[in-house]
Every structure is written in C-alpha cells, then in structure tokens.
C-alpha cells in the first residue's frame, strides 16, 4: 500500500494535531503488540501487530484504526456507522479471498478492526515495482480469482454486496500467489454538498458510480480498469475518467493477446448494459482466453506482431549499395541522395531507382545532405565537408575539419553550419567553402544544428546544449547529464531535444530555462518531430512516443521490437519511423495505430523522406527502398 509521508515538516504551524500513529512496541488493549505500520489513509491507519493472547506462538494480525476527527456530529455519526458496517460485512463473509475478522471495538474517539494478517504485496506495488510488463497469463489468473470473489459478494444473501472500490491497491497478492481483497471500508456514500466531493476511487470508477449507483456492473467496470492498469502499467487516476478506450491495451503493451483486450474492453464499456452482466460471464470469457494463451508463459512471450512474417507492403524499387546505409536520404528535383558506409554519396532516380552518380569520399557518410543552388552539401567521416554539383556529382569545394563528421549541415544566411568530432561547430560560407568562424563546444558535435529567430541551437557529446548567435557568440548553455546526439527542434519559442541521459528536454529558446523534462526508460538519440502541438520521438527503449508538446503528457506510444534510434517523419496523416528491429513502421499519427510495416534485413537507423506518395528509407542491409506511402 502506498503510504503518504505526512511527517515532513512544513513551515506553518497549523495542524499540530495531526493523527498520532501508534508507535512500534506500543500495545493496544494490553493484547496487541504493534510491530509496524502497513499503510496510512485519510482518517485511518493499518498496523501489523502480534496477538499476545497467544504468547507461545507468533500470531500476527492486521489492525485497522480509524480516528474520527469530524467536528460535525452528523458526519461523525456517519463515519462510525460506516466503520461498523465494514465490520458487519466482514463478519458475515467466509471466502478464501477475503480476510477474516476477529474483533471490532472502539476506544475513545478511535475505532478498531482486528483482521487476519495477509502476508504479501498489494498489486499496485507489484505493478509499480515491475520494470517490464507483467505477464498476461499471470494477470488473467489473478483476474479469475477476483471474478470468483466478486461473484461470491454479488451472490451474497440476503443482499448482494457491491465492493465499489476495486483497484490494484485493494488487491493483495499473497506469498502463495493468490489474491485477497482488502479494505471493505467502502461504505462511502455520496455526500451531497454545494460542490460535490467525489467518492470511490477516481480512475477505476464507472460513470454510474458518480451518480451514487452501485450494481455488480460497477464492480465489473472497476475490475476491467484494474486489469487494464496491470496490463499497461498506466495508472488511470492520472488520466481523465472513462478514457480507457483512448489507451487501447495492445498499443501500450503489444504482448497482450487480442482476446484479453476484448474482455477488458467489454468490462470497460461506458453503459452498464454493454458490459458483462455478471461476474460469472466475465469469468467464463477469461477462462476461454486462459485456455488459448500458453499456460506457463513467462515474461518474454512471442510478440503478436512477429506472427506476420510476410511484408504487407512491397517496395516499388530497391537500390543496393556496397555497405550499410545508416543515414537519411534527401529528395530534390526527382533525385534521391543518400550517404553510405561504402564511403559514397549516391544520387538515385526517385522514379525507378536507377543509379545516376556517386561521389566517393574517404570515410563513411552518415550525414544527411542539404541543397544550396546547384550544390549538394554533406559531411563524411573522412573529416571533410563536401559541396558537389547536384547534376554531375563533381566536386565543387572541400572544407576540412579535424575529426569525423556525423552531423548534418544546416543552411542559413548562405552558410553551412556543421558539427564535427573535432569538437567545433563550423560556419562555412557555401559559395567559397571557407570558414567564417568556428565555436568550440568542448566535445564532439554529432547533433545537427537548427536555427530559430536568429539563433543556432545544437548539442554536444559531453551533454552541453548551446544557443549561439550568428557571430558564434554563446547566448546561453544548458548542461544535460549525458550526451546530446539528437538534433534540436524548435516550436513556439521552445527548443526540444533528447539526451543519452534518458530525458527529453523542452527549454525556453530565449533563456535556456527548462520548461519540462520527459523521462524515457532508456537513452534517446532520436530527433523529435512536431505537428499540431504533437511531438513524436523515439528512444533506445524501443518505443515511438507521441507527447503533448505543451505539457509532455503522453498521448500514445507504439512499441517496436528493438531500439528506435532513427527519427520519426510525418507525411500526410501518417507517421513513419524506422527501428533497429529492421522495420519501417507506418502509424496513424493521431492514434499510433499501425497501418503497415515494412521489414528490411538489417536495423534501420536513419529517417525516411517522402515525396509524391513515395517514402524512401535506407537500411543497414545495404539497400535504399522506395515504398508507397
């Protein structure tokens, strides 16, 4: 159970009378020896204690303590009644998934329940502590037991009992891996006030529960919400109510079967009449799923997505180079240009993929070329920045740096701005190929610079992020914890970039102040793309993310099978992004829904380019592919 830290000192002295917990070692009624606190809620606390009536054996109990601090006598009375009701409900129940009650009493303004001590962990803690997704078959086993216990409650005589507060933190998983439903303190009724006080646990509660209705269908919804949370690790309390269908399970966790998702979706229908009508019906549906899924499936099931082996889309043409293509192609005037680790820059006819020319450098070319008048400008790992004629591939000029170039040039004000492993950002006159200035960034610059409002932004491998003006003077600098290899983008005065320190940063372009940070599970070297305030990027955790650019709120995520080191690109209403798993993914950009994917034979690390309904992408399998968008 998550405990809130309420002991922290605050600089005001209101509320010195906060609830005093019983200290470990103290005794209650001279019978229960308090051993520790299990959890603290609004007006209550739960303790682990030893029953000293059994001095020769260690009999543990859980003690739920409720402190009635309400000043209004009516509210006071209600609170006591509710607590009593919890005791009475528990006393009338006998089920292996429900803790037994031993006693109930009041001392002064405090009331106590003495309950069976459940050894285990609550499900919320298990979800939060898991670094990977929990296994689907495991969750279904727990869900089946929860269906059993809910069915028991719903069939209770003379009146059905509605649990009303089904959520992961109220589900204990015992050391024998069985579920126990805890906290029957649900007798929370709707208090009508001038402004409503929401009761029930937001996020897990169905719409009708806000109207004060409690039926078995309400518990079914909350169970669906609990399973959804367990499968996706996405806490519904942090989302708007009734928004589960905006977060389809498979989109967050691609390992979950379609059948399970269908059961969850049915339980989570807005209208109660569209859900399972009884817990038994939901249990039957889950049993069917459980039969289909591998019985002892552990943490690494075969992802559903891998079952499709055949490419759903065919390449219009493919062009073979002599080594890996790690960089990104560029399009101009009917021609595709792409650098390759066979040291060449290629010019290829965009229509039919036929070879036009190649320019040999002395090192691998990962730099994406840019166009200036009749020149193509790009860097090479042979340390040089080259300008070659677009038509012929003949050299115009060479600008040498003192280290390999992995950055792509930025063109502005008749200059090419390019980073090099020699630690400098170079400003090179595009007409002459001569240096105008260079700025020392202190470590290799692999990030491609970007320009906004007369300032140039770029990152370095030591994690420094720079904003410099056109004269090369530093306006501000921000220090990330690890390398900034991704290239910055600007939108509405905010600069966004990912870092190997696993954060995506949003900085005020004027001042360099951090507006927000978004934490990935792994480092990121992918360059973000923004449209309509939606930010798309990828990370080494294998996920393509869509975030709200104003708030960093996650809108959707799409999991690929390996690292996402390339950058997403939007064309029409589709987002294209490659993955080290070898696929180029085409996703509906508002929802993250997969439209198609194209499998190559090697990791894709570059960014696609699109023109006239054709998407061009290079792969480390030595090929450049043209695909129908």
């Amino acid at each position: 159970m998550e405990t809130k830290n309420r002991t922290r000192g605050l600089d005001s002295d209101i509320g010195k009378d906060a609830i005093q917990q019983m200290a470990p070692g103290s005794r209650l009624l001279d019978r229960y020896l308090i051993e520790g606190i299990l959890g603290i809620g609004g007006m209550s606390a739960v303790y682990r204690a030893r029953d000293m009536h059994f001095p020769n054996v260690k009999k543990l109990v859980a003690i739920k303590e409720m402190v009635n601090r309400a000043s209004d006598p009516v509210i006071r009375e209600t609170i006591v009644r509710n607590f009593e009701r919890e005791a009475n409900i528990l006393a009338s129940l006998d089920h292996r998934c429900i803790p037994r009650i031993y006693d109930y009493f009041s001392v002064n303004e405090k009331s106590y329940l003495i309950l069976e001590f459940i050894k285990g962990q609550d499900l919320e803690l298990i979800i939060n502590n898991a670094s990977e997704f929990l296994s689907e078959s495991q969750i279904i086993q727990w869900a089946l037991e929860l269906c059993d216990v809910l069915a028991y409650l719903h069939n209770h005589q003379p009146d059905p009992i509605i649990f009303r507060d089904m959520k992961p933190s109220n589900v204990m998983i015992t050391s024998q891996n069985h579920v126990v439903l805890v906290d029957f303190g649900i007798a929370k009724t709707f208090q009508s006030g001038q402004k409503g006080t929401m009761i029930g646990t937001e996020g897990y509660s169905p719409p009708e529960q806000y109207r004060g209705e409690a039926t078995p269908c309400a518990d079914i919804y909350s169970l669906g919400a609990t399973i959804h949370h367990a499968l996706t690790k996405r806490d519904p309390r942090l989302e708007p109510p009734f928004s589960f269908n905006e977060r389809p399970v498979h989109q967050i966790n691609p390992y979950v079967s379609k059948m399970t998702e269908e059961v969850v979706n049915k339980a989570l229908q807005y209208s109660p009449e569209n859900r399972f009508q009884t817990t038994e019906a939901m249990r039957d549906a889950l049993i069917n799923v459980a039969r289909e899924i591998e019985p002892n499936q552990t943490t690494f099931p075969i992802p559903a997505i891998n079952l499709k082996t055949k490419n759903e889309v065919q390449a219009i043409w493919e062009f073979q180079c002599e080594d890996e293509i790690r960089g990104s192609p560029a399009f101009s005037n009917g021609t595709i240009f792409v650098g390759c680790y066979d040291n060449n820059m290629y010019a290829i006819d965009a229509q039919n993929g036929s070879f036009l020319w190649k320019f040999p450098s002395e090192g691998g070319v990962v730099s994406k070329p840019v166009f200036h008048e009749d020149n193509l400008i790009f860097g090479s790992e042979d340390h040089n920045l080259y300008a070659v004629y677009i038509r012929s591939g003949k050299l115009n000029w060479t600008y040498p740096t003192k280290g390999p170039i992995r950055s792509s040039p930025l063109l502005a004000e008749s200059h090419a701005f390019i980073g090099s492993d020699d630690t400098f950002l170079h400003a090179v006159n595009v007409h002459t190929g001569r240096q105008t200035w260079r700025v020392d960034a202190g470590s290799p610059v692999r990030s491609s610079p970007t320009i906004f409002d007369e300032f140039i932004y770029f990152g370095s491998e030591a994690g420094d992020f720079y904003c410099i003006d056109f004269s090369g003077e530093i306006k501000w600098r921000y220090k990330a914890k690890r390398a900034i290899t991704s290239s910055p983008i600007l939108n509405k005065g905010i600069v966004y970039f990912g870092s190997v320190d696993s954060n995506l940063y949003a900085l005020d372009g004027d001042t360099g102040w951090v507006i927000w940070r978004f934490r990935f599970d792994k480092p990121s070297i992918s360059t973000a793309f923004i449209i309509e305030n939606l930010l798309f990027t990828g990370a080494i955790d294998g996920v393509i993310y869509c975030l709200d650019a104003s708030s960093s709120r996650e809108i959707w995520r799409f999991s690929t099978q390996n690292q996402v080191t390339g950058s997403p690109m939007l064309y029409k209403d589709s987002l294209y992004c490659g993955s080290v798993d070898g696929s180029l993914y085409c996703l509906e950009y508002r929802s993250g829904r997969l439209r198609w994917k194209f499998q190559t034979k090697g990791p894709i690390t570059g960014t696609p380019v699109a023109h006239e309904n054709i998407v061009y992408i290079g792969s480390t399998d030595h090929h450049l592919y043209a695909l129908l968008a």
Partner: protein, 301 residues
C-alpha cells in the same frame, strides 16, 4: 545579428577572397544594433497590467475563494524579463473547511514558486532552477494537496495557477476554475479543461451543453486538491499572447456569465480595473449563486 551576417555576405562577392572573421570589423554595426534595441525597449510598456476582483456573491454567507497576484519586472543587462504569478482557488466542503483548503492551496503554491523561481531569478548570481518550471509547479500543487489532506481532510479545492516568465506562460490546473485568453478583437479561448463530471460527459458525447447546465451532478469534480490519494495537475506551457488579456476566474463567474459576455465586458471596458468590476457585477446580476473571483491580466502590445 541577422543584419550583420547579411552585411558580411554582401561584402563577399565570389571574387572577394579575403574573408574576415565576423567580430573583427563589425564594431559599428553592433553599436547600431544595440541602439536600435534599446530604442525599442524604451517604447515598450515594460510590464503586465493586473486587476483582481472578488465578491462573496448573493447567496453565500462566506467566501471560500482565495486568490493571489504578483507582477514584477526585471530589466537588467539590457534584457527585459517579466515575471507574473497568479492563483485562483475555489474551496469546497462544509464547516469552513473549504476556506481552509483554498487558503492552504494559494499560500503553499505561491510561496514555493516564489522561492524556487523568483528568488533564483533575482539573485545576484542568477541561476536556473534545478527542476523544470513544470516540475516546480507540479511539486507545489502536490505539496498543497498533501497539506490539505492533513489539515482539512473533508474538503477540497480547485486551483488554477498561471506563471508568466519571459515569453511563455505555464498553467497548472486542477478542478473547474478557468483560464481564458482574450484577444483585443474579442476572441475568447479557454485554456483549461474543467475536471468536472459533466464536462467529461460532454467530451464523451453522453450529454449536451444544455443537459449539463441542469445536470444533478453538475458540481461534481473528479479531480480536486485534497481529494483522492493520487492525482496530477494539468500543466501546460504556451507562448505568451502578443497582446490582449488573460483571465483567471472561479466558476462563480463563468457558470453564470457566458463566454461572449465575458469577452465583451473585458474588451469594451476603458481599462482592466473597470473590466474586472464589471465581470463581478454581471455575475451578481445573474443571481450571484456562488463566490466570484477574477484576475484580469493585460498583456501590452
């Protein structure tokens, strides 16, 4: 500096082989540019204008709304830096608990942001905060939430905080108080999302706007400070509008005065002080069923 580079480019005819580093012979240009900049600065009204108005309304016997405004400008090192912090909180819960909740919310949020942002900003050796602006806002809201759970467990409050820093504004929002941006020509845009049950039902297409205004649960919030063990504020950063107005208000205003009327009263008033008063008056004329709070900020052209 753009001019500077252009000037440099003009000098660099293809025949011109001698390329000078940019800083070498450009002293004069820089001086001109600086003069131009300072001239522009002196023309600009270097601050936001702020009015705040409050009324208990006509049907309540006490005021559960709380508000805070702070408007400062730092002009130093040739830079002009506006800072504004504005908070509206609307408390709920019986027995004056609502007042306690909104009071705690406003004080904790204001003091934490002043400490973490404003103080670092104006200190002799200016530094940037360790945390992001949005993290600082998030932490201040969480701190207020926990304090309210502790001090007034049966209460809750809305909270809408606007932090203006340089050319951006960040809004942290929980509940159904609102932030609007109003352009000089009267276009009004709601920047916050009500965390109310009826608004959620409208979003899902379950009820219409009309049904919402008569809905029995129209006052039910699904997210409020002091309610629930887990929650997050909506926090977003937007470019500061180039001109026009920003309004923060409690539902005592927007639930009885339509958006178009709000915008008209603001844009047709001679100044924001009169505008603020007229908003309050309009809400009271419409029955004044609840406490009314309005903070009106004018962004100079």
């Amino acid at each position: 500096m753009r001019k500077l580079l252009r000037k440099l480019q003009n000098n660099l005819k293809p025949s011109d082989q001698e390329i000078k580093p940019i800083t070498a012979d450009s002293g004069e240009s820089i001086d001109n540019l600086e003069r131009e900049k300072s001239f522009q600065l002196s023309l600009k009204t270097p601050q936001l204008l702020v009015s705040c108005s409050q009324s208990i309304g006509r049907q309540r016997d006490h005021n559960e709304d709380a508000l805070f405004t702070l408007n400062t400008t730092l002009a130093s090192n040739g830079k002009y830096l506006p800072f504004g912090l504005f908070v509206v909180a609307d408390g709920m819960g019986g027995h004056e608990q609502g007042e306690i909740a909104s009071n705690i919310a406003v004080r904790i949020v204001a003091s934490r942001i002043i400490r973490k942002v404003l103080i670092t900003l104006v200190s002799l050796i200016p530094s940037t905060p360790n945390n992001s602006i949005q993290e600082i806002l998030e932490q201040s809201v969480q701190e207020a939430h926990e304090k309210i759970l502790e001090e007034a467990p049966e209460s809750g409050t809305t909270l809408t905080t606007l932090l203006i820093l340089d050319r951006h504004m960040t809004i942290a929002h929980v509940g159904d108080s609102r932030a609007y941006v109003i352009s000089p020509n009267g276009d009004i845009e709601l920047k916050t999302r009500d965390h109310s049950l009826v608004m959620r039902m409208i979003e899902l297409g379950q009820i219409t706007d009309e049904e919402a205004s008569n809905h029995p649960q129209r006052n039910v919030l699904y997210r409020a400070l002091g309610q629930g063990e887990h929650f997050s504020a909506d926090i977003s950063t937007y470019p500061l509008p180039d001109n026009g107005y920003i309004l923060l208000c409690s539902d005592g205003l927007w639930s009885v005065v339509p958006d178009e009327k709000i915008s008209e009263l603001i844009t047709k008033s001679p100044d924001i002080y009169t505008g603020g008063q007229q908003l309050i008056q309009a809400a009271n004329e419409a029955g004044g069923p609840d406490n009314i709070s309005a903070i009106l900020i004018q962004v100079p052209d």
